[in-house]
Structures are given as C-alpha cells and as structure tokens.
C-alpha cells in the first residue's frame, strides 16, 4: 500500500494505526484534520474536496519520503478524503512511528504542513447562508476581477475611442 492515499469513504483510524505498529518503535503520533463548522466568520455546513489525483499522490509520496528520511521514521502514512464531507468527519489523517516521540510528533507536523501547501487538492466550503466558495481561491478571483476592472476603466476609455470611433478614419 502506498504511503499517501485518497479515500472517498470515512477513515478507519484503528486500521490505519495498525499499519504502523512496529516493535522497533517507541513512539507513534497521529494527526487528524476535522471538518469544522465555521471559517472566517461564516457558518460552514459541509465540504467538498477535489484533487488532481495522479500528481497529488506522487507529491504526497514525496512528502512522506522526505519525512521518513528527515526524522528517521520507521513508518509514516497519510490519507486524504475526497468528495463530499459532513461536519466532524476526518478530512485528513497523518500517522508516524519512530523509535522516539520527538521525531514522531515533528514528522506529523511536517507532513500535514507540506500536504496543505504542496498537493493539488482543493476545498469547497458550503455555508449556512447558501453561498459556497473555494478556499484560498475566492480572494484571488476577487483580486483578478479588481485588476480587470482597473484595466477595464482605462480600456473603456480606449474602447470608446477605437481609433476610428470618433475621429474621421478616412
């Protein structure tokens, strides 16, 4: 089984933990990311995750390989949910086993941080207001629209004055 996986079904954390048991390990740490009921002042009712799976899986494997070598782990695993999720569900699970606790703790932190920043995974939040939005994208879209509007106000001037619009073109 690969060390990074996607799952469209609820995660069985006991089974995942069992994959990491190892008599050579004195420590095991796990991190669970949960679906929260609010974000940036809005009440969240549910989530959807979407991924560019082949690239995300490859990058996820790379993150875990980095963690294993950096923290001298004996085992590490990350599973990310895909599709529709309800409040309280586990969205992402990370586990690491190592001879000593410090490495296991730090590896979990490293893996979740890198997964959040590097993997092509997108989260759409649905709000109690009926709105929805792609996390980290909506502000970019608004910024692009603002930039477009700025360009547009100068372009509108230009457009109205298509070189031939007013002055005689002949």
């Amino acid at each position: 089984m690969s060390a990074f996986r996607f799952s469209s079904a609820a995660l069985d954390t006991a089974a995942l933990r069992a994959e990491l048991t190892d008599p050579g390990c004195g420590a095991y740490a796990a991190f669970e990311g949960w679906v929260r009921d609010h974000n940036e002042g809005q009440r969240v009712t549910r989530l959807e995750y979407e991924a560019y799976a082949p690239l995300a899986a490859r990058e996820g494997e790379q993150v875990i390989a980095e963690a294993i070598s950096r923290f001298k782990l004996r085992g590490a695993l990350c599973v990310h949910r895909i599709g529709a999720l309800a409040l309280g569900e586990i969205a992402v699970w990370v586990g690491a086993s190592a001879p000593h606790r410090d490495e296991a703790f730090r590896a979990c932190r490293y893996i979740i941080d890198e997964v959040k920043h590097r993997l092509p995974i997108w989260k759409k939040e649905h709000y109690a207001s009926g709105d929805s939005g792609w996390v980290n994208c909506e502000r970019c879209a608004a910024a692009a629209a603002d930039a477009g509007a700025d360009a547009a106000s100068s372009a509108a001037h230009e457009t109205h004055g298509h070189d031939h619009a007013h002055g005689p073109r002949r």
């Binding site: 995300a56 298509h162 002949r170």
Partner: protein
C-alpha cells in the same frame, strides 16, 4: 424570414495611436486582417472589407471583396452605412479590425442570439455595460435610422446603438472584444499569442480543469489544437476563450502529471493542468 447575413470587417481606420496599419499587425504569425476574415467567412454568406478609397489597391486588402464609403470621413458608422447601401437586403455582421482576442464562439453566440425584428444585435461591453457596436449585427432596417443619425451630425456608432431598438447580449468570454490601440497594447497582446514559435506546428493538447477553473471553464477536460509554444501562451489563449478569471501569477502549471515551469515548451499530446491555489487538509 430573416435577411441573409453578410460579414463586414472594418479596415479603414487611420491607426493614429498605433502609427501602423492595425490590420497588418501579426498574431500567431498571421496578419489580423487574415485572422478576422478566417473567423468571419465560415459564419456568413458573403464577407467584405470596408476600406477607404485610397486603400482599394492595397495588396493585403485586394485579396477580398471591398466596399468603399458612400459618405466619406464618417468613421466606422460610414463603413456600416456603405455596406447597408451596397447590399440592402442583407443584415451585416460588422467587426472592428483591432480585436485580436475575438473567437469563433463569441461570433457564434452573437449569431445564435440574433434578433432580426430589432435594428441590431450587440454585446454589452464587459467594461462599461454599453452596447459594443463593432462586433454586432445590423439589420437592413437600420439603414434609414443610421442615415438620419449621420445627417444629424452624429458619428458615434455606440451612441447610435444606445438610442436604438437593440438586442443586447452578455459576453460569455469577457475579454473577447478587448481592442488594441497602442504599440504597448500590441506588444502585450502579441506576447500572449506565443509568437516565438508561432510559425511552428499546432499541437494537440489535453487540458484538464479543477476546482474554480473547472467551474469557470464549464468543463473538466477538453482536447484542443493550439499554436501556443508554452503554458504561459496557452493560458492566455484559454483564459480569453474559456473565460478563466484567475491570473497566471495565482496559478501553478502541471504538464504530464508533473509540476512544470510556465515557459516549458509544449509538445504534441501533452496534458496540461492549471492549478488554482490549493487548500488540502
């Protein structure tokens, strides 16, 4: 029954700010005049250039049927009027000569929404909401009011449409009617057409869309042919034709399931994905 649809490309502009004939400006290795006529010809029964009398012998223009103004020195409305006089039974799809981003889908949208019982069918400008007269269909019945408009000393075709019975449409590709007036605008637009290898072959590319871009494009994947030399040129092309509203600096690129540089050359059969800002975890 509605009148047959003819096409008219306005080429009589003086290009004063550009200081070069805008119809000779090249995009993807082809002059704008040829590009615009290639777009127009398959969609209309006959197509013509609107020219000044002193342009009749210009070799670039002489390859096409031409119409010269009846009322000279009136600007584009004079060109539209001349076409309505020359072929009075036809409706005219009129195009400005400086719309390098115009695509077939936008013209098809205009033609599909044509309202022959009104004087004209036009897009609302995505910049100021006013009618866009230089990618519009003028029905035969618009000839008399246009004549009266010119006789009243008016010249602006946009103002004419703003006061006429016009079917107004929302542009699906908001940048499709952006025009080019200055050398700086040309340099910018020119770059977006992947000029460096524009003379090279077209490539078949598979594009996959995710998350916000999937919703903006209205599809999760497509196969296209493109002259775009690299991902940057390809994104410029697709953002115009598919109405993608994120800026390239907000995106990353993947080619064949690996992160790639915006300037990595594209090859036949590549799969390209533009990655919106991510939010895993």
């Amino acid at each position: 029954m509605s009148a047959p649809l003819y096409g008219l490309l306005l080429t009589g502009g003086r290009s004063r700010r550009m200081q070069r004939d805008k119809l000779r400006l090249e995009y993807g290795g082809q002059p704008q005049l040829a590009r615009a006529m290639a777009l127009l010809e398959p969609l209309v029964e006959r197509s013509f250039l609107s020219v000044r009398a002193d342009q009749l012998e210009d070799p670039l223009r002489a390859a096409y049927p031409r119409i010269t103004d009846v009322l000279p020195e009136q600007g584009p409305i004079g060109g539209i009027h001349a076409a309505l006089c020359a072929e009075g039974q036809a409706a005219w799809l009129v195009l400005a000569g400086d719309l390098p981003f115009l695509d077939a889908a936008t013209l098809q949208q205009l033609i599909a929404a044509r309202a022959p019982h009104r004087l004209a069918t036009a897009f609302r400008s995505s910049h100021d909401g006013k009618p866009e007269p230089l990618c519009a269909i003028f029905e035969p019945a618009s000839r008399a009011p246009i004549e009266a408009w010119i006789a009243a000393g008016q010249r602006c075709p946009r103002d004419f449409l703003a006061h006429a019975d016009v079917e107004l449409l929302v542009l699906r590709a908001p940048r499709a009617l952006d025009n080019i007036n200055t050398a700086a605008e040309y340099t910018q637009a020119h770059g977006q057409f992947g000029e460096r290898t524009a003379a090279g072959p077209q490539r078949r590319l598979k594009i996959q869309y995710f998350a916000m871009l999937r919703e903006q494009a209205g599809r999760s994947e497509e196969t296209i042919t493109s002259h775009a030399a690299d991902a940057r040129a390809l994104y410029a092309e697709l953002s115009a034709s598919r109405g993608l509203h994120l800026k390239p600096e907000q995106l990353r690129v993947a080619i064949n399931e690996a992160f790639a540089d915006w300037s990595q050359p594209l090859s036949e059969g590549d799969t390209v994905v533009f990655l919106p800002p991510v939010a895993g975890g």
